[in-house]
C-alpha cells in the first residue's frame, strides 16, 4: 500500500470511529465514493477496532511474566491458596492409603507421606500428585501402559512405583515406595566422602539404571534430587518411568505445531538430544549420569548459567564444552542465588567435602576420571558410552587401576614396542613413577601416524622408578635441582626420597605433607601441609623437621633459582601470586589478576627476575588461555603464547629452562588425558619473546614439575599416562624449531585421526546430517575435501603402518551392530575403496 493510500485509510478510519455506530456504514460508503477496495479495507479495520478493547493494553512484560517468574528454578514460597490445598489433603484418603503429612513439593505437585488406612504401622508410601498440566484421563491411560513393567521393577536401588490413579477431584497421583534420605550430592558432602567412596555409591545408581534399560525403560530425568541416599547409605532412584508417562512427545512421535510440547525433565541435567526434542535413547541417561558424576566429583556443574534464559541453557548444553573435572576443581566459581547474593565455590571447599585438599583433588581427577566424565558428557550420543554398563565398567576398572576404555589406546595412534611393553606393565595394575631417559627409542620415530614435528627433539624413553598400588597413588613429587633425587608423597600421606639413578629409597619421617619444590642446596624441601598442617613449610631432608613459612592454600609454590625467594599462591582464590623470602620473610603480593582469571601454574625464570605463568579465563564463550611473564614488581610483559580456544582447558603447566626456553603443556586434541609439550623462548630479564612457539613431544600424559639438570642435558618432568601411571620423563632438547599450523575444527562434530604422511593435510571424521563422512583438509586451506561420504556412514578410520592407506568401516547407519557394516581400505591419496571384510566380523 502506498503512503497516500494509507493516509486516506487512516483518515477515514478515525472519521468513521467518531460516527455513531448506526451511521458508520452509510458514512463510509459515501466517503469512499465507489472505491470498493478502500471501503472494505476501512471496514475491516473498524471491525477490529471495535474488538481491540483490551488488546495489548497491558505490557509485553506482563505477557511473559508467569514464565519469567518460573525461570531460575528457585522455589517460591507457597501461596495462601496452595497452603489451603495442602491442609485439606492431610488425613484424606487416596485409594487404600491415608495421607499423613506433606513431604515436599515436587515440580509438578506435592508429595505426601501416607500409610495404609487400615493399619497404622504397616508400610508407608509416598504419594505424588500431578496437579499441573495433563488431564487425569491422559495420565492414567499412559500409566496403564507402563504399569506392568514398572510394577515388576525389583531392584534394591529403585524406588518402586506401586500404583496410580486419580483423586475424586480428578487429580492424577502416583503411589511410590517411600524413600527417606538425602539427595546424593548432599549426602556425599555431609559425610565428606572421598572420590572412591563417591564412585562406589555412583556405581549402585548405575546398576539401577542398567537394570531399567534392560527392561526398556529410560529414566529421562536423572538428577541428584531424584537419587536419595538412605541413612544406611543405600541410594535409590526415584521417579522412574514418571517422566515417560507424562511426556507427550512419546505419543506416536509426532508433535504438531499446535500441540503442547511438554518437557518432562530438568533442563540442567538434560542431554542435548532431549533439549532438541530428538529421540531419547539409553545414552541420554548416560549423559545425565555424567552430569551427576561431574557434580559428585567436582562440586561444580558442567555448565554455568548466568541468566537462566532457556535459550542460554539450551545453547550451553548443546554447544559448549565443559571444563575438565581436574581443571574445574582448581577454579573459583561465583554463583548468584535467587535472592541476588553471590556465593563462591572454592577449591578448598570442594576438596574439604571430599576429604582432600586442592592439589590432590586436581591430580586425583586428572587422567582417567577426566576421560570417563567427559566421555559420558559428549554431545553426540553415539560418542558416549553406549550403555550405562559400559560406564560402570570403566569406573570399576579405574578403581582397580586397570586401563579404561575411555582413554584412547596408545597403540592405535602410536603403535610402538615400548608402549606395548608399557601396557603390559599397566595391566599388572601398578602405578608408576617412570623416568624417561635419553637415547634410543627409535620406535617413536617410526610412528604410524606421522604428525609434523612428531619426532620429538629428544627421544623419550621411560623407566619405571617406583611402584604404587592403586588407591595409594603418588600425590605429589618434586625433583631436585641437580636431577638426582626425587621427593614424593603418596595417598597414605607418607613421604619418600628416591635416588633416581641408584634407586635408593628412604622414607622421610614426617607425614601429611606434599613436596612442592626443592631448595637449590638440596638440603631442604618446600612442602605444603595437609589438614592441620595446612600451609607452606620448609622441611629438612636430614631429619624431617619442618618450619612453617606461610599460610597458603594454593596449588603451586616455587623456590627461586638462587634459593632466596619463594613464589606462591596464598589464598584459595587462584588469581594472585605472592612472594616471600626463603625463610618466610616479608610476604607480599606481586601480582593480582581479574577475578575471572585463574593462574594454574607459574615458574621462575632463570635469573630469578621474572616469573612465567599461565592465565586462564574459563567462561565458555570467552575461554582463553595465555602464557605471560611478569617481573617481581608485578608488571607484565608481552603475551608469549596464546592457546587456541579448543585447547584451552586451564591445565597448562609451565617451566622456564636455564637456556631461556619456556616449556608448557597443551592438551592433545585426540584425548581427554594426554598432553603435548611445547616450548617458546623468552628473555629472562625483559620477558620478550625470542621466537615462535614450537612443539616438542607427541602425546605425553599430563606433564608437570619440570626440572633441568645442572648440566642441561637431562630434563626431567612428571607426566601421567594411561591408567594413572605417573611418569617422570627425561628429554634431551635440541634447538630445532617447528612452527605449528593451527587447524580449527569444530569442537563437537569432527574427530581428527591423523596427519597424512607428507604432513600437509589432516584426515578427520565428521558427523553431518546423521551420517558420518571422512574428510581431508590441507593445512594451508580453509575447507576440507570429502573423501568418503554419501548414503552410508564411514567411521573409525585407522592408518596403515606405512601411512599411505587407511582402514575404516562403512555401514548404512551409525548403529553399533549394523549388519551392513563392511571393513574397507582406501588410499589416502584417494581412489576406489577396497572391501576387506563384510558380514559379521570383529575389527581388531
Amino acid at each position: 500500500m502506498d503512503s497516500e493510500r494509507w493516509q486516506t485509510v487512516e483518515r477515514l478510519y478515525h472519521a468513521v470511529m467518531e460516527c455513531e455506530e448506526s451511521q458508520r456504514a452509510t458514512f463510509l460508503s459515501r466517503a469512499c465514493g465507489g472505491d470498493e477496495g478502500l471501503r472494505r479495507e476501512v471496514e475491516s479495520l473498524v471491525a477490529y477496532g471495535n474488538r481491540a478493547g483490551r488488546f495489548i493494553e497491558g505490557s509485553a512484560l506482563g505477557v511473559v511474566a508467569p514464565a519469567l517468574a518460573r525461570d531460575g528454578g528457585d522455589r517460591q514460597d507457597p501461596t495462601a491458596e496452595e497452603c489451603r490445598i495442602v491442609e485439606k489433603m492431610i488425613g484424606k484418603r487416596i485409594s487404600q492409603y491415608r495421607i499423613v503429612e506433606q513431604l515436599g513439593s515436587g515440580g509438578m505437585g506435592e508429595v505426601y507421606r501416607a500409610v495404609r488406612a487400615d493399619d497404622q504401622y504397616q508400610k508407608q508410601v509416598a504419594i505424588k500428585l500431578v496437579r499441573a498440566g495433563e488431564s487425569s484421563g491422559f495420565v492414567i491411560g499412559r500409566f496403564k501402559n507402563e504399569r506392568q513393567i514398572l510394577a515388576n521393577f525389583d531392584h534394591p536401588n529403585i524406588a518402586r512405583l506401586l500404583d496410580g490413579g486419580a483423586t475424586d477431584e480428578g487429580v492424577p497421583y502416583f503411589v511410590m515406595e517411600l524413600v527417606e534420605g538425602q539427595p546424593i550430592d548432599k549426602y556425599c558432602d555431609a559425610h565428606k566422602l572421598g572420590v572412591p567412596a563417591r564412585l562406589t555409591l555412583f556405581l549402585q545408581v548405575c546398576s539401577a539404571l542398567d537394570y531399567a534399560h534392560q527392561h526398556q525403560i529410560i529414566h529421562r530425568d536423572i538428577k541428584p534430587a531424584n537419587i536419595l541416599v538412605s541413612a544406611e547409605g543405600v541410594p535409590k532412584l526415584l521417579d522412574f518411568g514418571i517422566a515417560k508417562i507424562l511426556d507427550r512427545d512419546v505419543l506416536g512421535g509426532t508433535v504438531g505445531a499446535t500441540q503442547t510440547v511438554f518437557r518432562a525433565f530438568t533442563p540442567e541435567y538434560a542431554s542435548p538430544e532431549q533439549i532438541k526434542a530428538e529421540p531419547i535413547r539409553p545414552a541420554s541417561d548416560v549423559y545425565s549420569l555424567g552430569v551427576v558424576l561431574y557434580e559428585l566429583l567436582t562440586g561444580h556443574r558442567p555448565y554455568l548459567f548466568k541468566t537462566r534464559m532457556p535459550s542460554e541453557i539450551e545453547q550451553a548444553i548443546c554447544e559448549e564444552e565443559p571444563l575438565k573435572p581436574s581443571t574445574v576443581v582448581t577454579r573459583v566459581e561465583e554463583q548468584t542465588l535467587a535472592d541476588g547474593t553471590t556465593t563462591s565455590i572454592t577449591p578448598e571447599e570442594i576438596s574439604g567435602a571430599r576429604g582432600s585438599d586442592p592439589k590432590q583433588m586436581h591430580s586425583r581427577l586428572l587422567g582417567d576420571l577426566d576421560a570417563i566424565v567427559m566421555t559420558a558428557l559428549r554431545k553426540e550420543p553415539h560418542r558416549r558410552y553406549a550403555s550405562v554398563d559400559d560406564l560402570s565398567e570403566d569406573i570399576r576398572k579405574h578403581l582397580e587401576g586397570l586401563p579404561i576404555a575411555a582413554r584412547p589406546s596408545t597403540l592405535a595412534y602410536r603403535g610402538t614396542k615400548f608402549v606395548r611393553r608399557h601396557r603390559e606393565l599397566a595391566v599388572s595394575a601398578l602405578v608408576f613413577l617412570v623416568l624417561v631417559l635419553l637415547g634410543g627409542l627409535a620406535a617413536i620415530r617410526r610412528l604410524a601416524v606421522g604428525k609434523p614435528g612428531a619426532e620429538p627433539h629428544g627421544e623419550v624413553v621411560r623407566r619405571q622408578l617406583t611402584a604404587n598400588a592403586p588407591g595409594n597413588q603418588v600425590t605429589s613429587a618434586a625433583i631436585s635441582r641437580d636431577g638426582k633425587y626425587l621427593a614424593y608423597s603418596d595417598q597414605a600421606g607418607k613421604m619418600y626420597l628416591l635416588q633416581i639413578d641408584g634407586g635408593g629409597l628412604r622414607q622421610l619421617p614426617s607425614s601429611d605433607f606434599l613436596p612442592q619444590d626443592w631448595f637449590p642446596d638440596g638440603t631442604h624441601l618446600l612442602v605444603s601441609g595437609r589438614g592441620q598442617h595446612s600451609g607452606l613449610w620448609k622441611m629438612s631432608i636430614g631429619d624431617g623437621t619442618s618450619r612453617k613459612l606461610a599460610d597458603s592454600l594454593g596449588l603451586f609454590a616455587e623456590v627461586s633459582p638462587d634459593g632466596s625467594h619463594i613464589a606462591y599462591q596464598k589464598r584459595d582464590v587462584s588469581n594472585d601470586i605472592w612472594l616471600m623470602g626463603a625463610d618466610g620473610e616479608e610476604p607480599h603480593r606481586i601480582a593480582e589478576f581479574d577475578a575471572r582469571d585463574s593462574i594454574f601454574s607459574f615458574a621462575w625464570g632463570p635469573g630469578g627476575q621474572r616469573l612465567v605463568y599461565v592465565r586462564f579465563r574459563g567462561e565458555f564463550a570467552k575461554r582463553e588461555q595465555v602464557i605471560e611473564t611478569c617481573d617481581l614488581q608485578g608488571s607484565r610483559a608481552l603475551v608469549l603464547a596464546s592457546v587456541p580456544r579448543s585447547r584451552s582447558d586451564g591445565a597448562t603447566e609451565v617451566w622456564w629452562l636455564p637456556d631461556g626456553r619456556i616449556l608448557y603443556t597443551l592438551p592433545d586434541p585426540l584425548s581427554y588425558s594426554d598432553y603435548d609439550i611445547w616450548s617458546v623462548a623468552a628473555d629472562p630479564l625483559s620477558g620478550k619473546p625470542l621466537g615462535p612457539p614450537s612443539r616438542l613431544t607427541n602425546g605425553e600424559g599430563a606433564a608437570s614439575n619440570f626440572v633441568a639438570s645442572a648440566d642441561g642435558k637431562r630434563f626431567i618432568y612428571m607426566s601421567t599416562r594411561s591408567n594413572d601411571a605417573v611418569n617422570v620423563g627425561n628429554l634431551d632438547l635440541r634447538a630445532e624449531k617447528f612452527s605449528p599450523r593451527r587447524l580449527t575444527l569444530d569442537v563437537w562434530d569432527n574427530e581428527p585421526f591423523g596427519w597424512t604422511r607428507d604432513s600437509k593435510a589432516v584426515l578427520f571424521q565428521s558427523i553431518r546430517s546423521g551420517r558420518s563422512a571422512i574428510l581431508k583438509q590441507r593445512i594451508d586451506q580453509q575447507t576440507p575435501e570429502v573423501l568418503l561420504s554419501g548414503a552410508e556412514s564411514y567411521q573409525q578410520p585407522t592408518f596403515s603402518p606405512a601411512g599411505d592407506r587407511f582402514l575404516y568401516t562403512a555401514s548404512a547407519t551409525l548403529d553399533r551392530h549394523d549388519p551392513s557394516e563392511r571393513l574397507e581400505s582406501m588410499l589416502v591419496a584417494g581412489g576406489a575403496p577396497t572391501i576387506l571384510l563384510a558380514g559379521d566380523y570383529s575389527a581388531p
Binding site: 494509507w6 487512516e10 478515525h14 477496495g37 479495507e41 475491516s44 479495520l45 473498524v46 477490529y48 477496532g49 481491540a52 495489548i56 497491558g58 505490557s59 509485553a60 512484560l61 506482563g62 505477557v63 511473559v64 511474566a65 508467569p66 514464565a67 519469567l68 517468574a69 518460573r70 528454578g73 517460591q76 507457597p78 501461596t79 495462601a80 491458596e81 513439593s105 515436587g106 515440580g107 509438578m108 506435592e110 496437579r131 499441573a132 498440566g133 495433563e134 507424562l246 505445531a257 499446535t258 503442547t260 510440547v261 511438554f262 518437557r263 518432562a264 525433565f265 530438568t266 533442563p267 526434542a277 548466568k306 541468566t307 537462566r308 534464559m309 532457556p310 535459550s311 542460554e312 539450551e314
Partner: protein, 194 residues
C-alpha cells in the same frame, strides 16, 4: 565490584543504540535478570490478589538498571526509545525461546521445575505480535513506534507523546488504529488486492 553497574548499562545502551550488536550480548543477561525479578514480584502480588499495572513494572526495571541522573534530560527521549526497543528485542527473544512450550488456547504448560500451581497463560502470542509489528513498521513507522514504546517499553500516553514529539491525541489515534491493524494482521485476515 568495580564500576557501578548502572553506569555500565547506560553506556551499553548507548552503544547498542548506535548499532553495536555486541553490546546487546552484554546487556541481555543484566536486563533479563531484572526482568525476572520484576516478574516474580508481579506474580507474587497477583497470587495475593493484587493486580499491578504491569507498565509500572517496566518502569521499575528501568530505574533499577540505570541511574536516570546519568541521562541528561535532552537525551531522555532517545534513551527511552532505546529501552523500549531493547525490551522488544529481549522479551520477544525470550518468548521465542519458550515457544516450544505452549501456543494459545487453554493447554497448560509444565516442566518439572515449575512452581506448585500453574496459572493459565495469557493467550497472546508475543512472537506473532512482534512479527506483525515489524510489518506495521513498514507501512507506518510512527504507529509501530507508538506500540513499541507503550506495549514493550511501558511508557504512558504522555511519555510516548513526549518521545515522539507529537501530541497526546495523535498518540491515542495512532494507538487505536495500530491495535486494530495488528489484531487483524495476527488473525491472518486476507486483504484484497491493495
Amino acid at each position: 565490584m568495580g564500576t557501578s553497574p548502572s553506569r555500565d548499562i547506560t553506556q551499553l545502551l548507548r552503544a547498542w543504540g548506535t548499532g553495536d550488536e555486541h553490546a546487546l550480548e552484554e546487556l541481555t543477561p543484566l536486563v533479563y535478570d531484572e526482568l525476572r525479578k520484576a516478574a516474580k514480584r508481579q506474580m507474587a502480588k497477583e497470587r495475593d490478589g493484587h493486580t499491578l499495572q504491569t507498565t509500572a513494572l517496566i518502569n521499575e526495571v528501568y530505574l533499577r538498571l540505570v541511574n536516570l541522573d546519568d541521562v541528561s534530560w535532552q537525551d531522555r527521549a532517545h534513551f527511552f526509545a532505546i529501552c523500549a526497543r531493547l525490551m522488544r528485542r529481549i522479551l520477544t527473544d525470550y518468548a521465542r525461546s519458550r515457544s516450544y512450550l505452549k501456543r494459545g488456547g487453554d493447554a497448560r504448560r509444565v516442566t518439572l521445575d515449575e512452581a506448585l500451581m500453574v496459572s493459565a497463560d495469557p493467550s497472546l502470542d508475543l512472537v506473532a505480535l512482534e512479527g506483525a509489528l515489524t510489518k506495521l513498521g513498514e507501512v507506518d513507522s510512527r504507529k509501530s513506534s507508538v506500540v513499541e514504546l507503550r506495549f514493550f517499553g511501558g511508557l504512558t500516553l504522555k511519555e510516548t507523546a513526549a518521545v515522539l514529539k507529537v501530541s497526546a491525541d495523535t498518540v491515542t489515534r495512532d494507538w487505536n488504529l495500530a491495535k486494530a491493524w495488528l489484531m487483524r494482521e495476527m488473525d491472518g485476515e486476507q486483504r484484497d488486492g491493495f
